[in-house]
């Protein structure tokens, strides 16, 4: 029997304020932050001791000891210990992909409720021992005789004592994500001014959202932080113009600065999803439904496509499947990995050649109403703890749609390392 599908409801969300790297959360581990975030969600919706269908979350930078990160966070939380959990990882798409996975199980009737989340720390990052040292130690542990042990130890060189820190670089290209994006920005002719303007809008929108209490039921303070640490309500195009480029610096016309790029940050987010019936039984609200989602990937290594351009490919597929145009949305949430990522993606959708040759479309998707874009700020202002961004966006957009009234539609577009993109449609 083919199972009946239904659309999963987004009941609400919780996150901790995002901190800048090596700052407020310098001592907090991924598990600490995820547990605190789950507990905040539990408090918001009265889930103490309750068993939800599944908790799905992940971290991009993960210690070996955190192999079962999400389950361990559940065990440390106020949720029932009988709540199953598993980890996922799709780089910056982790949080949204986790929500899609939970929503799909709800849609299939396999679970009635679930929590999707993500967490990342760049402060308590996993340092690995030098790879050659690691091999020496493995050889040492399997050595049986003194002679074998001495032979193993003979391989040790002073340089091996230096640990390896995770780098924000693509393994196959060796380029930092920002350097990749600098290439894309140059190819699409994204100006420094346009990037700085988008950045200022992100800060101002986020600040305004805090001022009007929009985040009062989306954020729970943590370790003394009550708002996103990166937020600069008083920033301006003039202030941003003073910053030196930090990516693509081989190019004399480099445009990407520490201002119009997201900083390394720490934080966690979680979203509560459920069937309509589960929410109704508990008297919980339904902010929006997760209508559909799509992933895509591009060959950023040898294929000549920009690392962060995959959402540009995913969205038209999603639109076609749902019989929608790019203009059929009340709100757009395009993750601001870099200001130029957003601008290049929008420009690509407006570009006839790109849409025809790369996307195989007869006509470009066209422009969007920029006043509907990232209306409550996005990653440039809030920060971007990789796996936590999806949960931040899903909960914020769902609330925004709910406030706007029934039948409103929102589009989420998140680019991810490895040339990937995750996009989704929410509807109130």
């Amino acid at each position: 029997m083919a199972p009946q599908t239904r659309k999963a409801a987004i009941v609400g969300g919780n996150r901790i304020p995002f901190a800048r790297s090596n700052s407020a959360y310098a001592q907090a581990s991924n598990q600490d932050m995820l547990t605190a975030t789950l507990d905040g969600l539990v408090a918001r919706f009265g889930l103490q001791g309750q068993q939800v269908g599944e908790v799905v979350a992940g971290a991009v930078l993960k210690h070996a000891r955190d192999f079962n990160l999400t389950r361990e966070a559940v065990l440390g939380s106020r949720l029932s210990a009988a709540t199953p959990a598993y980890d996922v990882q799709q780089a910056c798409g982790t949080g949204l992909e986790a929500a899609v996975l939970v929503a799909n199980k709800i849609a299939l009737g396999q679970i009635e409720s679930g929590i999707a989340g993500g967490v990342d720390t760049t402060s308590d990052a996993p340092l690995a021992i030098h790879d050659e040292m690691r091999r020496v130690l493995i050889a040492l542990s399997s050595a049986r005789t003194l002679r074998q042990r001495l032979e193993a130890l003979a391989g040790v060189r002073p340089g091996m004592f230096v640990p390896e820190a995770p780098r924000n670089a693509e393994p196959r290209t060796g380029l930092a994500m920002g350097d990749h994006q600098a290439i894309t920005a140059r190819e699409w002719g994204i100006s420094r001014e346009a990037q700085d303007e988008l950045t200022v809008r992100s800060h101002h929108n986020l600040a305004a959202a805090y001022e009007r209490g929009f985040f009062d039921d989306l954020v729970t303070p943590y370790l003394g932080l009550t708002r996103d640490e990166n937020l600069r309500p008083d920033t301006s195009v003039e202030k941003l113009a003073k910053l030196e480029p930090v990516f693509g610096t081989g190019d004399p016309d480099a445009t990407m600065t520490a201002g119009n790029s997201t900083p390394l940050s720490d934080g966690a987010s979680a979203v509560l999803l459920a069937s309509d019936a589960w929410a109704a039984e508990r008297g919980l609200p339904v902010l929006a439904h997760l209508v559909d989602a799509q992933t895509a990937a591009v060959d950023h290594v040898h294929g000549g496509e920009g690392l962060l351009m995959a959402p540009a490919y995913a969205v038209p597929v999603l639109l076609a499947r749902n019989g929608l145009t790019l203009q059929d949305f009340d709100f757009y949430e395009v993750h601001e990995a870099f200001a130029s990522t957003v601008l290049a993606t929008l420009k690509a959708w407006e570009d006839p050649a790109f849409c025809k040759e790369r996307l195989g479309l007869d006509a470009p998707l066209g422009a969007i109403d920029r006043s509907r874009l990232n209306v409550n700020g996005s990653s440039l202002a809030a920060g971007h703890p990789f796996a936590a961004t999806g949960g931040r966006i899903v909960a914020s957009l769902a609330k925004q749609l709910h406030e706007a009234g029934p039948g409103r539609r929102g589009l989420i577009s998140i680019c991810a390392a490895g040339g990937q993109g995750v996009v989704a449609i929410l509807e109130s």
């Binding site: 790879d131 340089g159 196959r172 290209t173 060796g174 380029l175 350097d179 081989g250 290594v301 040898h302 000549g304």
Partner: protein
């Protein structure tokens, strides 16, 4: 033609040492000698170490450059022998061609044969080709031709002109950046056995007239092919020329471009100066 079959791979440090002390007073024609080994088995741990250093993934089919590692000790034995007309110290690898006739599996018993040929004239000296052929089950599966330049050496009268030209298409787009550390030469030496002092340290390289240690050409080639893992034809001709030595440490870029009809053009260049270290083509066979 004399064909000598060796029972084991010769010790390369010893060969390098012998070549060094017998460097003077060489000359004349190439020896009409072939060295061979039969039933050679790939050692799994050695292959894994090689894969790690060159960026290949450990798999049953051998990396296209791996048979070179098996054949190189024989080539070195040939070159270090007194009968070889050019002095090994100071020889520079300037071109490498590999024909992979079919994928070679790591568990196949391989027969190797190496020889030298084509002593040629070069504006800065003389070049010689060291050839290798690898067979499995009686059929050739892999062959290579490595061209070495002996600066200041003289090719015999009537020798042909050395051909180091390789037409490569436009390669404007770097696809990867490698930070090549100071230890790159030592690391490749450990997995390939090529302990030529010019690769091992700045000090030993200076002794042979280089400012700093230089990366093995075969490592640069292997790393470039490694970056294309999964996108290479099963049977192919790889042709690379080594231009400016890659001084250690350096940051370099790899540029690739697919070509019509299959295969790739590729270049490894210095990130700062843009100087070309390697140009190459990969074509299906």
């Amino acid at each position: 033609m004399a064909r000598t079959v060796l029972q084991t791979a010769p010790s390369m440090p010893a060969l390098f040492a012998r070549a060094a002390v017998t460097a003077r007073g060489r000359g004349g024609d190439l020896p009409d000698t072939r060295l061979a080994r039969t039933g050679v088995r790939v050692e799994a741990a050695a292959l894994a170490a090689y894969d790690r250093v060159c960026g290949f993934s450990l798999a049953d089919p051998l990396p296209p450059t791996y048979p070179h590692v098996l054949a190189f000790p024989l080539q070195l034995a040939l070159m270090s022998d007194r009968s070889f007309p050019l002095a090994l110290p100071g020889l520079v690898h300037v071109r490498n061609r590999i024909d992979l006739l079919r994928p070679v599996r790591a568990d196949e018993a391989l027969d190797l044969e190496v020889w030298a040929e084509r002593l040629a004239r070069h504006p800065r000296g003389a070049t010689v080709d060291l050839c290798a052929s690898v067979s499995a089950g009686g059929a050739e599966v892999w062959r290579s031709r490595s061209t070495y330049l002996a600066r200041g050496a003289k090719a015999p009268e009537g020798a042909p002109e050395s051909d180091l030209s390789l037409p490569v298409g436009e390669l404007p787009r770097p696809v990867a950046t490698w930070r090549v550390p100071d230890s790159a030469g030592r690391r490749y030496a450990r997995v390939s056995g090529d302990v030529n002092p010019i690769h091992l340290s700045g000090l030993t390289a200076k002794a042979f007239g280089f400012k700093r240690a230089i990366a093995h050409g075969m490592w640069v080639e292997a790393r470039a092919l490694g970056a294309l893992t999964g996108r290479l034809p099963d049977a192919m001709a790889v042709d690379v020329v080594f231009r400016k030595p890659l001084l250690l440490p350096s940051t370099v870029t790899l540029a690739t471009a697919p070509v019509v009809g299959g295969g790739w053009d590729l270049a490894v260049r210095n990130l700062q100066s843009g100087a070309e270290h390697l140009l190459g083509t990969v074509r299906p066979l």
